[in-house]
């Protein structure tokens, strides 16, 4: 059967621009799996995102890197899917897919042409139900992950710095260690570890599936029940203690890096989780300081004073205590302490002088634009719906997040800067280049 798509069909189905809102259904299957479905018939495409409540924060000492290593195992086959068959089927049928792990969750996703709905659901359900855990698969992916670590950390300038940021800023092991893990721990992971991790964390009651795109809600729900509902529920994993003890003084670390050429300063403050009422104001503060070229750090340190050749400020999403971060790449010939002082002075200026209306407006526009752009991609919507459900039990945050930012006032921004970004709460890493041995040297 052929299904032709004409331009007129695309234009006729313009539902998003009218509402600028994602409408969805939210259902819990008998085994505890949460299934969120949003229809959008603008393109003959759909996306599936599966968020598992399993991140590096769930790892224990001696097994760092495990959640991510496990993510790789999820492509090595299950009862009905051979090793590598998952991605081969997705790509061969014109789709796209990947998996990704962070501290808070492991996420798997596919985007496929809309005639492959059964394929997408079957692939995700089969591995949730029956992952094939063998030593051969584990050894194979251990190698790939160790290469990923070399690529991202060990062979890269500032690779060690990236790991040190979390280990210095946090005292709680959950967030203190890196997602990629240590080489020794990766080598020590056993098949039994993998099997136990699977049983505990890859249970239907510990995951959220979101399906967005050119699908019919009733049909998706029926198929989701068919493929996922037979998977047995497991005991809920024990909650992770994310308590971060208060710090009484600034923490500092000096690193030398043989692969780097410029001094880099990383400053981090521990701030409340993203579920906090102050999260939106902290996000606006990040835009005021680090947003684009009109951000205060770029304008003053890079363009005006030329103390830095590159700079940034930001605050990521975090279920537990988050980090508000600066990084400063010190311009050649400039004194790193001067650059650090100047960066901190910009923060002080917010605390003492507040922020201007246009700076707050900038953050509002940016949030609105992000939301509108997100509406174009079925994948982005699927990812946000599943993550917001998992993190905050609130998939509708996809629609309300931009309003939360809009409600922030200049006074809120000043208040959170004063409240959270102080010296005791701060950790600073200064990474200086260490001359490498040149060819011909003894």
């Amino acid at each position: 059967m052929k299904r032709l798509l004409a331009f007129s069909i695309l234009l006729g189905a313009s539902v998003l621009s009218a509402q600028n809102k994602v409408t969805f259904t939210d259902t819990r299957l008998k085994n505890g799996l949460r299934v969120i479905i949003a229809e959008d018939h603008n393109a003959p495409v759909f996306s599936i995102a599966v968020s598992y409540n399993a991140g590096s924060r769930d790892e224990r000492k001696g097994r760092t890197g495990f959640a991510h290593l496990f993510e790789h195992m999820m492509f090595k086959g299950s009862e009905n899917i051979g090793p590598g068959e998952h991605f081969t089927l997705v790509f061969n049928n014109g789709g796209n897919m990947n998996g990704t792990t962070n501290k808070d969750r492991t996420l798997y996703f596919e985007t496929l042409p809309s005639n492959q709905l059964d394929l997408g659901l079957f692939l995700e359900a089969d591995r949730m139900r029956s992952l094939e855990i063998t030593k051969a698969n584990l050894d194979n992916q251990r190698n790939a992950v160790q290469e990923e670590r070399r690529l991202g950390v060990d062979n890269n300038p500032y690779g060690k710095t990236f790991e040190a940021i979390d280990s210095l800023a946090y005292s709680n092991f959950a967030y203190q260690h890196s997602v990629i893990g240590s080489m020794a721990d990766l080598s020590a992971a056993t098949v039994e570890d993998v099997a136990a991790f699977f049983k505990t964390y890859y249970a239907p009651n510990n995951a959220v599936v979101a399906i967005v795109g050119d699908v019919k809600t009733a049909e998706v729900l029926e198929k989701a029940r068919k493929y996922f509902e037979p998977i047995p529920r497991q005991k809920d994993p024990a909650p992770v203690d994310m308590t971060e003890p208060a710090s009484s003084s600034e923490k500092r670390l000096a690193l030398e890096d043989q692969l780097a050429r410029l001094t880099r300063i990383d400053i981090s403050w521990v701030v409340p989780p993203s579920s906090s009422n102050d999260d939106a104001a902290l996000s606006v503060l990040a835009t005021v300081l680090g947003g684009g070229r009109s951000g205060r750090l770029y304008e003053n340190l890079v363009r005006q004073q030329q103390l830095a050749s590159n700079i940034g400020a930001g605050k990521g999403e975090s279920r537990g205590p988050g980090l508000f971060r600066f990084f400063v790449q010190v311009a050649p010939g400039k004194n790193p302490p001067d650059a650090e002082k100047a960066a901190l002075a910009e923060l002080e200026r917010v605390k003492t002088g507040g922020v201007q209306d246009w700076e707050v407006e900038k953050a509002r526009s940016s949030a609105r634009r992000q939301m509108v752009s997100g509406l174009q991609s079925s994948l982005q919507r699927a990812v946000l719906l599943s993550q917001y459900a998992l993190f905050y039990n609130d998939p509708d945050r996809i629609n309300t997040r931009s309003k939360m930012i809009s409600d922030v006032t200049a006074a809120d921004v000043q208040r959170v800067a004063k409240q959270y970004l102080n010296e005791a709460n701060r950790s600073v890493i200064v990474t200086t280049p260490k001359a490498a041995v040149r060819p011909g040297d003894k």
Binding site: A43, V45, F91, N140, E147, G292, P332, K362, V372, P439
Partner: protein
């Protein structure tokens, strides 16, 4: 290393990806590529329904000053994106010794106009969450002015774009600052192995041809004067051969009015369309190493000169590339990562523009497996030359390329890019409609034939970045070796 368990499973349970034409291969030594680690159990429900996707068509027209207008109307989200292409303003046309002048001019255009300072430009754009950038690649033929905004801000965005395009002042003070921060970045990027491998690859494959330019030299940058930028802008930023592509929440009539009102005064200069020559043929096969002390990986690029975008072999070579290294289902990924665990990724790519481009394979492997990984990579290239691609594998790749068009329909900008490509290369009006049909007629013999023609072992260049102490002796085994330092200076040549 493949384990006994995997072999057993392969033999007993599975349909191999590449096992479809064993009879033919029996006459063709040597054996097919080792892709046994991908096991197709064939139990997943795959729809064989043909999802024929027809791309929506943009509307095209011309302005009085010669600008070609391409508009794809799409009201799904309240935003508009545009891209203005200005042929002749790219770094390709920079004189020898002035490489980077085009790039410096492009970047400096948004550092001040007759009515706006650089900070005012940033503030106005960022308070409306609009984007606007002028860019010109070191080896590009064109400069581009590209931007996007929510529908309600499109008028303001075009005001700003016209101002930056027509009235830049290139303030001396901002130029000095640009030089300072760019010099630091140029220095910093020499610490990144991915940059070093690309830089040396471009130099080896293109020689002195402008296509080999990938980054400015700090000394060249520091020698540029404001007067040079002013002159470059005056002579190169002309509308004669330009095109503007607009996608999103705007009608053709409104887009046409918008462009006419902001850029109608941009005067034709009588400049002919620029042309680009091909690079001279690269030399015989060699190995080139950037000795980067303390590296724990070896980064490889292996490749040859190939074809321009309008070459008759384009479709067949693109299909061959998909087989060898186009994504995680390519042979390089399957073999080097999934089977051997040498690397996090291994891919290949075809780069084809208005002049003769390149085909290359790339991967990063831990230093200890430099020799077996390179041996296996070179063997994949031998296989594609010597053994016809099994029918099923080729059919899978064709289906993948065609079906992926459905995904691009989510993004109006991506759809529009297809038609911009058509305009740039003067492709037939039905080029994209007939793409599936053209791809389907390509035979395994044609794929083998382009592999033999372009992946010529006698011309294959191997570029590596790694710790010389660990890898020099290994690399010597693969051909005459030139060693460079991280500053790009040749240190030694070794002929084995």
């Amino acid at each position: 290393m493949r384990t006994p368990i995997a072999v057993l499973r392969t033999l007993k349970l599975t349909v191999l990806m590449c096992a479809g034409t064993a009879g033919i291969e029996a006459q063709q030594p040597p054996a097919p590529p080792p892709t046994q680690t991908v096991v197709m159990k064939g139990k997943a429900p795959v729809s064989d329904q043909v999802l024929n996707v027809r791309l929506p068509r943009p509307r095209e027209g011309s302005l009085a000053n010669g600008i070609h207008l391409i508009v794809l109307e799409d009201h799904r989200t309240p935003q508009v994106a545009f891209s203005l292409t200005i042929p002749g303003a790219g770094g390709f046309f920079d004189a020898a010794g002035q490489a980077g002048l085009a790039q410096a001019t492009a970047v400096m255009m948004r550092e001040g106009t007759t009515t706006r300072t650089t900070l005012q430009i940033s503030e106005q754009l960022e308070t409306t969450a609009s984007t606007l950038n002028v860019g010109s690649g070191m080896s590009a033929l064109d400069a581009t002015v590209a931007g996007s905004a929510l529908t309600e801000h499109v008028g303001k965005l075009f005001d700003m774009a016209a101002d930056i395009l027509l009235n830049p002042t290139f303030p001396e003070e901002e130029f000095a600052k640009y030089k300072q921060r760019t010099s630091a970045q140029l220095n910093q990027q020499r610490s990144i192995p991915g940059f070093l491998v690309q830089e040396l690859w471009s130099k080896v494959i293109s020689g002195d041809h402008p296509s080999g330019r990938i980054a400015m030299q700090a000394t060249t940058l520091n020698g540029f004067t404001r007067a040079q930028l002013v002159e470059f802008h005056k002579t190169r930023y002309v509308p004669d051969n330009a095109a503007i592509a607009i996608a999103g929440d705007i009608s053709y009539a409104d887009a046409s009015k918008l462009v006419e009102s902001r850029l109608g005064g941009w005067k034709k200069a009588g400049t002919p369309a620029p042309t680009a020559s091909d690079p001279a043929p690269a030399g015989a096969a060699r190995v080139s190493l950037v000795d980067r002390p303390n590296s724990v990986q070896t980064n490889f690029v292996v490749g040859t000169q190939a074809i321009s975008r309008v070459d008759a072999d384009y479709d067949a070579l693109q299909l061959m590339n998909a087989v060898v290294g186009g994504g995680p289902t390519g042979r390089l990924f399957t073999h080097l990562r999934e089977e051997k665990g040498y690397t996090y990724g291994a891919y290949s790519g075809l780069s084809a523009g208005r002049y003769k481009g390149t085909w290359l394979a790339s991967t990063d492997v831990r230093s200890e497996v430099t020799e077996p990984a390179l041996t296996d990579l070179m063997d994949e290239l031998r296989q594609i030359r010597e053994v016809p691609v099994p029918a099923k594998e080729l059919a899978d790749k064709k289906r993948s390329l065609v079906a992926s068009f459905a995904l691009s329909l989510e993004s109006p900008q991506q759809v529009l890019n297809y038609y911009v490509t058509s305009w740039v290369y003067k492709l037939p009006a039905d080029y994209w409609d007939r793409y599936p049909e053209r791809l389907n007629t390509i035979t395994p013999m044609q794929v083998q034939s382009v592999a033999r023609k372009y992946l010529d072992a006698g011309k294959m260049q191997i570029i590596a970045v790694g710790d010389g102490k660990k890898v020099t002796d290994i690399l010597k085994k693969f051909g005459p070796l030139d060693v460079y330092d991280v500053e790009g200076k040749k240190v030694t040549s070794v002929v084995p």
